[in-house]
């Protein structure tokens, strides 16, 4: 199915199982006049990671904070472990939360940080020590129990934060951009580590992130948000290959944006026709999203609905190249091609362009910026 479904259709299609580990239904939140979350509805997959993916300001963190109880929903329902918790206090929800900037208690050492949730719940000192030892083992920081947060690296701090959140055995784990403050290398390592750890623990988790790669890699299910709206709920494969809205097409993975007119179920631009516009009426405007690796280049026409373009710039990435093109009608494209497929093509070459697997939508206001679409 490559055709579009509008976001409100999806929302009504997703029934909420109230017995699910985490479910939210018609959640709304206003900050003054700003509508930060609009009828947000989804449920988390039990024992798996669900990613809330969106650019900054899309309302994903607000939704997470409402689930944690740190923010009060203006309307809607939150269910945790089958019970409505919309109006309960943070303390009663017993969620584990990991913050972007670690939020470790800076005047406590690692052991005291991890034990905090146990000690406020008045567990015996012996039980506390035992649990802290377990968790230090789990996050591989056993030798660091006596250190203070300022003596740890960013990656170590976030592991302590995770251990602290897990210590009181929460039913659900909420991760708010947990790798956001780390540099790229550490982020990669920690992501892999979290993936393994999560497979071991199997605690139902929600991961808030603006990094689509992170979401696609870690999550079992992705909830794509934009301007407070849930755009699509689906597996990483679905949101990548069958985007429900133009926003999802442009935000999850990169995509070229091509504008044209609908003629007989095709999108026409320049001399080229693209398939996949059967759902739009003749003569209306249409926007097609094409992944850079779905743009095929050749020096001779090789069937299909080829049109011509001029190569403006080639960036060699080693095994593949990023080719910037201008089509004859002036629209710009980026193609990703393995180097052996573009032999003989150079700056200024005239090439035949074959666009495959286009996702076609009626033009909407909420398209991602060009910058995002072109990366």
């Amino acid at each position: 199915m490559t055709t579009t479904t509008l976001s409100h259709d999806i929302k009504s299609a997703v029934g909420v199982e109230q017995s699910a580990m985490i479910a939210v239904k018609d959640l709304n939140k206003f900050f003054g006049k700003f509508h930060a979350a609009k009828d947000v509805t989804f449920e988390a997959v039990e024992g798996k990671i669900t990613a809330l993916l969106g650019p900054s300001g899309s309302g994903k963190s607000t939704v997470l904070r409402m689930i944690a109880g740190l923010e009060r929903a203006d309307s809607g329902h939150i269910y945790l472990d089958g019970q409505e918790q919309t109006r309960t206090s943070v303390q009663d929800r017993r969620v584990g939360m990991v913050f972007q900037h670690y939020a470790l208690f800076r005047h406590m050492n690692v052991r005291q940080n991890i034990a905090f949730g146990l000690s406020v719940r008045k567990q015996s000192k012996r039980e506390q020590q035992k649990r802290v030892d377990e968790l230090l083992e789990l996050v591989q920081l056993s030798p660091y129990g006596g250190r203070y947060p300022e003596q740890l690296s960013g990656g170590q701090r976030q592991r302590v934060a995770l251990a602290r959140a897990l210590a009181p055995r929460p039913k659900v784990l909420l991760l708010d951009e947990p790798f956001g403050a780390l540099d790229a290398r550490v982020r990669q390592d920690l992501r892999k580590w979290l993936d393994e750890l999560h497979r071991e623990l199997g605690v139902t988790s929600i991961l808030v992130t603006h990094d689509q790669e992170e979401a696609l890699e870690l999550a079992h299910q992705v909830v794509v948000m934009h301007e407070g709206d849930v755009q699509q709920v689906g597996t990483p494969d679905t949101v990548y290959n069958q985007p429900a809205t133009p926003f999802v097409a442009g935000f999850v993975g990169s995509a070229n944006v091509i504008n044209g007119l609908v003629i007989g179920g095709h999108v026409q631009f320049g001399e080229q026709m693209l398939d996949g516009a059967g759902h739009l009426s003749d003569g209306s405007a249409a926007t097609a999203y094409v992944r850079p690796h779905d743009v095929k280049l050749s020096l001779s026409p090789n069937g299909g609905s080829n049109s011509q373009g001029t190569v403006r710039r080639i960036a060699d990435l080693g095994w593949a190249s990023k080719v910037s093109l201008e089509l004859n009608d002036g629209q710009k494209l980026v193609a990703h091609s393995p180097n052996d497929q573009i032999r003989g093509i150079g700056d200024g070459s005239t090439v035949y362009v074959d666009l495959r697997d286009a996702k076609v939508f009626a033009p909407q206001g909420n398209q991602p910026s060009d910058e995002l679409a072109q990366t």
């Binding site: 109880g69 939020a103 208690f105 406020v120 934060a161 959140a165």
Partner: protein
Amino acid sequence: MSAGQIVLQRGLRRRVVRGLLLSLALIYVGILLVAPTVGILWTVLQDGTQMIFDTFALQDVQNAFRLTATITVITVVVTAFFGVITAWVLARDNFPGRSILNAFVDLPMAVSPVIVGLMAVLLFGRGGWFEPFFAAQGIQIIFAVPSMVIVTIFISIPFVIREVTPVLQEIGTDEEEAAKTLGASSLQSFFRVTLPNIKWALCYGIALSAARALGEIGAVLIVSGSLQGMNESATLWILRAIEERQDSQAYVVALTLAAVSILLLVSIEFFKHRRIKEISR
């Protein structure tokens, strides 16, 4: 002139300017701060140690120190308690009128203590707004210890607030939120997470408050009624001793107050250092 000479000349000029500024600063601090301190120490020691013991044996002096200590302790406790609450509100709650409250906190810094004393007389004195209420309870406020405490508190209000608010703003709400998700009540979160994070700023503010309370004279002079041996704080006793030409005894009391202040100053420096670390961590 060669380029080398010009560089040499410039270096010389820079050194001369630097030396000039340094000596100006040293002379300024030396004459205005160090000389009086050394002077008072010298005078007291010249009169001999017997003089010191005699002065401390005076009933009036003992009463004066006791009163100053009482006022200082009450002031510190009250300004610390309400100071932390006010700092919390200023740092955490973006309520309408926040900037007005923020500006009002500095009022005691801008207003002369004598005026503060007069305001207290207007409120609590004969015909004042609050006078009928307290008179009915049989409580004497003005020309008694309560008014001295009130004006001293008023004057010391800004210190704790001004030191604690920026630290609260800087550390943010992350740790408090983390504490709550871990099951801590608001009180647990305050005492186990927030308070340890602001403790040095609070100590710094308290030390400043105490120093201010020890030395306060203007407002206290207006509201105390200056009854000999009663309602007489250490500073007021010094004032009377000088008027009565008992200079040596006045110096002894003054030196004692100064010694306590210097002790506070040292702790202030210590707390300031810790507070900066608190912010930058």
